[in-house]
């Protein structure tokens, strides 16, 4: 199957169009986001072009160590980004290893069974399958972990009196933080669940659209997308759960006292 290639000058045209439209909105609404829009648009393009060239090399010289290195960089970046988004809470030295565990744990559970039993690329480290699918899953884990941590640490600060009142009645940390944990997990899972409910009705997912544009038969692209959607739910639930558990461990002392973070 053939597809319509995008020439560089056409890409430039879209870039200019994006900048003009968004800068106009920012200027008219007095948002003050002009600089961020320009930097964001440029940085996004440069990052994607860089990744594109990296993928070219990766696909050409397929070696397991390179693929694993890319996955590790993905995980590390996701863990770091996730930890960096937390406004209040423990320092990054404490937080980053735990966000890595949460992102990595959920991603492993969502990816390994699928690569072993469902997609089953040959060889197992085939970059054109492993890298993009892992990227989507790890990105979702990153967002969920950041959201769970942000909400739980903020709640621990805002609801300190309530949490300590529960502790004073004899609650364990898990019981004392139950409402905040539940709300954080619900909030982090809702976008993924909404995605399940509205997929195909409101939007066509990016991966499926990309496959169809590049010539993959729709029925095959849809099967891939269904697998990805389920993986996104799994990673959100598992990474969110691990993040909530680790956040609780960070929030309380060994004697079940709520720390000042």
């Amino acid at each position: 199957m053939s597809y319509v290639d995008i020439a560089p000058w056409r890409l430039l045209f879209v870039f200019v169009l994006l900048l003009l439209a968004s800068l106009l909105v920012s200027w008219r609404a007095n948002l003050g986001l002009g600089r961020q829009l320009v930097v964001g648009a440029l940085r996004g393009a440069v990052q994607l072009l860089g990744v594109g060239y990296l993928l070219v090399v990766l696909f050409r010289d397929q070696r397991p160590e390179w693929v694993l290195l890319v996955l590790l960089v993905m995980l590390g970046t996701a863990a770091w980004t996730s930890a960096r988004r937390i406004e209040s809470g423990p320092g990054r030295r404490i937080l980053v290893p735990r966000t890595l565990l949460a992102v990595g744990g959920g991603s492993a559970l969502a990816l390994i069974p699928v690569f072993a039993l469902v997609v089953a690329p040959r060889p197992w480290f085939a970059a054109r399958y492993v890298v993009p699918i892992s990227g989507m899953i790890v990105a979702n884990a990153m967002n969920v972990v950041a959201q769970v941590n942000e909400r739980i640490f903020a709640s621990a600060r805002n609801d300190r009196a309530e949490i300590e009142q529960w502790l004073a009645l004899g609650a364990t940390p898990k019981q004392a933080l139950a409402r905040q944990t539940r709300e954080a997990l619900r909030a982090s899972l809702i976008p993924t669940i909404n995605g399940l409910l509205t997929v195909g009705l409101v939007s066509l997912p990016g991966m499926m659209s990309g496959q169809i544009v590049s010539g993959t038969p729709p029925e095959s692209a849809i099967r891939y997308q269904i697998v990805i959607l389920y993986q996104l739910v799994i990673v959100a639930a598992v990474s969110g759960g691990i993040a909530a558990y680790l956040a609780r461990r960070m929030l309380f002392t060994a004697r079940d006292q709520l720390r000042n973070l």
Partner: protein, 242 residues
Amino acid sequence: MLVDSSRLQLGEHGAGPAQPARAPDAACLEARGLTVRFAARTVLDAIDFSVRAGEIAVIEGPSGGGKSTFLRALATLQEATQGGVLLDGVAATEMPSSAYRRRVAYVPQLPVMFAGMVSDNVRAGPRLGGRELADDQVAGLLARVVLAPAMATRRAHDLSGGEKQRVAIARALANQPEVILFDEPTSALDPSAADSILALVRRCAQDGCAVVIVTHVREQATTLAGTRYTCEAGHLHRRGAA
């Protein structure tokens, strides 16, 4: 006798089995060398303290003197830097924190009501241990804090400050504590509501609980007729019974 009658009452309206009897003059709750430091600042400096069953210990002192931190440390909500607290001669660190806190209740200055009805709040402590109080037990606990049984179905967040304070005390009593720690329980109340809360505090002691209460109102210390202490600059000084 007061202890026994209180346990009988709690057996009827409370949440669980009666606590083991102790010698009448034995210290119920003790602090030994209790020290709390925040960074370089010493908030509590090697405090020794004890309170017996049925006794009221009144802690006075200026703001920032360490009164509330002392109470929080007794409740084990504040980590001790050195020293520690003992309940019936057993170090708090030697028992699960939840077990200790069920026996040593803490009522904060501004109690937080949990979501739901007053009855949900009163049942909260026993529920944590997997026990459900019957309606008549909830009514009995509300009666102890002079609230009508009909209050049980009110939304807890809709209550007045005085009512919240009473519900918080009933909630603490539902665990059948041996010690109750009150942190300025009348600070946000009008004089008549404050008097009724002080009456409840005395009632808790009459029912056999050891009571530690923090206040900055001198008249209240006199009214409570307990053993008076002054907490200042991290030190606790005994002033004698009122």
